[in-house]
C-alpha cells in the first residue's frame, strides 16, 4: 500500500485498510502478512457470498416485477430471508448420485467450478487501496483462472453418465471455447492503450477528468465503447447467461450438465455461475468503467469502493434485465455469431485502439478527424457484418385473402 496516499484520503476511504492493520497489528511480524491476506480472503468471500445470495433474490424480484408480479415476498420482510431459505433447502435436500456415475468426478466438478470462479476476485481492485493481490500480470491471471471453468463443466457433464448431460457438456465446451476468443481479444485494446497488464495501473490510467465533467474512462472512447459492448456480450456467453444459456436450456435438455445434481451440489453450481458473473462484471468495470474512479470530481468524497460496487450492481442488473427479455440462440447460430461477428469486430477494434493510441498527439481540428475515423471504424463494420449475419431473416409482410 502506498503509505503516502493513506494519510491524504478521507477517513471512510482508509477504513478497511485501518481495520485490517489494527487486527494484524497484535500479531508478531512474521504472521502479519499471512493474517492480512487471510482477512482479505474472508472479506471477499463474505462480501461476494452475500452479494450472490441477494443477487438471486434480486433476480427473482426483478424478473417478477417485469412480469407484473411481486416476486418472493413471503419469507422475511419483503422476502429478504429468501436466499437463506433457499440455502437451507439446498442443504437439506438429498444429494442423489446416479448409479452409473463416476463418483470422484461427480463430486469434484462443483468443487473445482466454485474454487476456480473465486480465483478471479484476487486481482480486482475494489477500492483505492483494496486489491487483494497486486500482480503485474493481473489481467492474464484473471483469464487464466477463468478458462478452468470449462474443465469443471466437462467433468460435470461426463461424470453424470446421462445422455442429456453429455449432450449439454459438449454444447457448453463448444460455447465456452469459442467465446473465450472475443472475450480476450476485447481486453487486448485496453492493455494496449494502458500499456500494462496490472489492473491497478489500468484503473490509474483512467483517472482524471477532461472538460471538467467527462472522466477518462475507456468507455468514453469509440474503441472503448465498442470493446465494452463486445466484452459484455462475450461475458454473457462465458457465464452461460440469457441469450447464450444453452448448456442448461431447460426447454430442451432439462438442466443440461446439472441434470444429475441435487441438493447442495446443485446450489454450488449456481453459486459458481453467479461468482463468474460478478467476476466478469468486476473486470468490465475495472477495464472500461474506470474501476473505483468517481464519475465527477465533486463526488470524490464518496469512498472508492462504493463507486466500484455501484457500477458492479448496474452491470449485474443489466444481466438480469437481458435474461428477462431475450430468447435463446441455437447452438449453430451461437457459433456463427461468435466466429463470424464477434471475432472480426474485436480484431477491428484492436486495430482501432492501436490507431487511437498512435494519433494521441493530434490536437485541434485533427482531434475531430481522429474521432470521426475511430467512430467510422466502429460503426461501418458493425453495420456490414450485421447485415451479412441477419441476411435471411427479416420481419415479413403477409397477404390477406
Amino acid at each position: 500500500m502506498i503509505a503516502a496516499a493513506l494519510t491524504t484520503d478521507s477517513f471512510l476511504e482508509r477504513l478497511p485498510v485501518l481495520a485490517r492493520d489494527t487486527v494484524t497489528g497484535r500479531l508478531p511480524e512474521s504472521w502479519r502478512w499471512m493474517a492480512g491476506s487471510l482477512l482479505e480472503i474472508i472479506a471477499i468471500l463474505a462480501g461476494f457470498g452475500l452479494l450472490f445470495a441477494y443477487l438471486t433474490l434480486a433476480e427473482r424480484k426483478i424478473l417478477g416485477r417485469i412480469q407484473n408480479r411481486p416476486g418472493p415476498n413471503r419469507t422475511g420482510w419483503f422476502g429478504l430471508l429468501q436466499p437463506f431459505a433457499d440455502g437451507v433447502k439446498a442443504l437439506t435436500k438429498e444429494d442423489v448420485v446416479p448409479a452409473g456415475a463416476d463418483r470422484v468426478l461427480h463430486f469434484l466438478a462443483p468443487v473445482v467450478l466454485v474454487a476456480v470462479s473465486l480465483l478471479g476476485f484476487a486481482v480486482l481492485p475494489f477500492g483505492r487501496h483494496l486489491v487483494a493481490v497486486e500482480l503485474d500480470t493481473a489481467v492474464l491471471y484473471f483469464f487464466a483462472a477463468g478458462t478452468a471453468t470449462e474443465l469443471a463443466v466437462f467433468m460435470a457433464g461426463w461424470a453424470s453418465h446421462n445422455k442429456y448431460s453429455l449432450l449439454a457438456a459438449m454444447r457448453a465446451l463448444a460455447q465456452l471455447i469459442s467465446y473465450e476468443l472475443p472475450l480476450l481479444l476485447s481486453v487486448v485494446p485496453v492493455v494496449l492503450v494502458a500499456g500494462t497488464l496490472s489492473t491497478t495501473k489500468i484503473v490509474a490510467a483512467q483517472g482524471g477528468w477532461s472538460l471538467g465533467f467527462v472522466p477518462h474512462w475507456h468507455v468514453f472512447t469509440p474503441w472503448g465503447a465498442a470493446g465494452f459492448v463486445l466484452f459484455m456480450v462475450a461475458a454473457l456467453a462465458e457465464s452461460n447467461r440469457s441469450p447464450f444459456d444453452l448448456p442448461e436450456a431447460e426447454s430442451e435438455l432439462i438442466a443440461g450438465h446439472l441434470t444429475e445434481y441435487s441438493g447442495f451440489k446443485y446450489a454450488l453450481f449456481f453459486m459458481a455461475e453467479y461468482f463468474g458473473m460478478c467476476a466478469l462484471s468486476g473486470m468490465a468495470v475495472t477495464l472500461f468503467l474506470g474501476g473505483w474512479g468517481a464519475p465527477l470530481a465533486q463526488l470524490e468524497w464518496i469512498p472508492s469502493y462504493a463507486w466500484f460496487t455501484a457500477k458492479l450492481l448496474v452491470l449485474l442488473l443489466g444481466f438480469i434485465w437481458i435474461r428477462a427479455t431475450l430468447p435463446r440462440l441455437r447452438l449453430d447460430q451461437l457459433m456463427k455469431f461468435a466466429w463470424k461477428f464477434l471475432v472480426p469486430l474485436t480484431l477491428l477494434n484492436l486495430a482501432n485502439a492501436a490507431g487511437w493510441s498512435l494519433t494521441a498527439g493530434w490536437t485541434g481540428p485533427l482531434q475531430l478527424v481522429r474521432w470521426a475515423v475511430a467512430l467510422a471504424l466502429v460503426a461501418v463494420p458493425f453495420v456490414v457484418l450485421g447485415r451479412t449475419l441477419s441476411a435471411g431473416s427479416a420481419p415479413r409482410t403477409y397477404r390477406f385473402a
Binding site: L63, Y164, S251, I254, A324, R330, S393, F400, A401
Partner: protein
Amino acid sequence: MNATPLANPSSGAHVRSVPGDLPGDLMEVSMGPHHPSTHGVFRMIVTLDGETIVRLKPVFGYLHRNHEKLAENTSYLGSMPYTDRLDYLNSMTNNWAYARAVEQLAGIAVPERAEYVRVILAELTRLLNHTCLAGFLMQDCGCSGTPLMYAFREREKILDLFESLSGSRMMCNYQRFGGCRVDPSAAWLAAAQQLVDGYGPFLDEFEALLTGNEILLARTQGVGRLSAALAINAGVTGPMLRATGVNYDLRKVDGYGVYPRFQFRIPLGEHGDVYDRYMIRILEMRESLAILRQALAGLPAGPIMNPAAKLRGFRPKAGEAYGRIEGPKGEIGFHLVSDGGPNPWRYHVRAPSFINLTILEDLCLGHTVADAVIILGSIDIVLGEVDR
C-alpha cells in the same frame, strides 16, 4: 453393430447404450412424457446424429379418457360438459361445434341473438388461444416466462368474462342445442367491449417485444417448413394450413352462423415455417378484434334460446350429422350417428391438434433438438384433444 448391453462393472446396472438397428454414432433420446416443453403428457423418441434429428417417433395416448365411448352411454345433454375437457383451453368453441352437430342432427333452429353471442364467444376464445400459443412458443424459445406472463395477464381478463357469464373460467358448459344457457347482461357486454378496446394496444406491445427480435427471427425463420401439398394431404387445418398459403378458413368456406355478415380478412403465409405460423396467429387475432367490434355493435335483442328445444327426454330421429366450426387450432367437428334413442349411437370428435400432430416428424427431420421443441410448440397441440 448389434445392441451391446453395456456391462458397467462398478454398478452392475445394464444400460442399453444404442438400440439394435442404429448405425454406430446415433443416439436415441426420449423427450417426455415428463418434459418441460411438451405441452402436456406427450413423448417424442428422437434419434440424434450429433445434434440433428434423424428419426422422431411421437408417442401419445397418456391422456386418453375414453371420451367417445363415454358419450355413447350419456345423454346428448350429458356430453356437453365433457366437450369442455377436449381442448381445455377453448371450451366455448368445443361446445359450439357439438351444439351445431346436434342442431343439424335434430334440425333445431337457433335464434339470431344466440348466433351473435356464439360468434362473440368464439372470437374471444380465438384471442385467448392465440395469445397463449405465442406465450408458450416464446417460452420454448427461451424467454424466461416474460411473454408468457403478459399472455396470461390478458387471458385472465377473457376468463373473467367467461366466468361472469357461464359460471366457470375454463369449463363453461354454456351452449345448448338451439341457443345458449344464459343471456349476457348489459354489464357483461360493456365489459366485453372494454376488453376488445384494450386488446389492440396489448398486441402492439406484444409485437414490439417479439416480432422484430433478431434472435427470434434467427430461431424461427426457415425452421419446420411445411409445404402446402403435404399440409393438404395430411389433412392439416387452421393457422398451420394458412401459414403455407392455402386459403381455407371454415368461417369463409362454410359461412356458418352469422359470419357472412362481418367483414374480416384471412392472413396467409408463404413459407409455412414456425415464424409464419406465429405471425399468422398474431394477424388472426387482429382480425378477431375486428369481428368482435362488429358483432358487439350489431348484437340484436330477442330470445337467447329456441323455446321449442327440449332439455330432457331429447330423442333426435335416427340419422347422422357432422357439425364443424373453425376452432382456434383448426377444423373441430363432431360426427354423430343417432338411432332414435336418448344416447348417440356413435359419437366421434375430429380433433385438429391430433391431425396436425401427425406431420411432426416430417417437419423435424434435419433440424436440431432445440428446433424440434419449437416446431412442436408452433403446431399448438393440447393433449386433451389429441388423446380424447
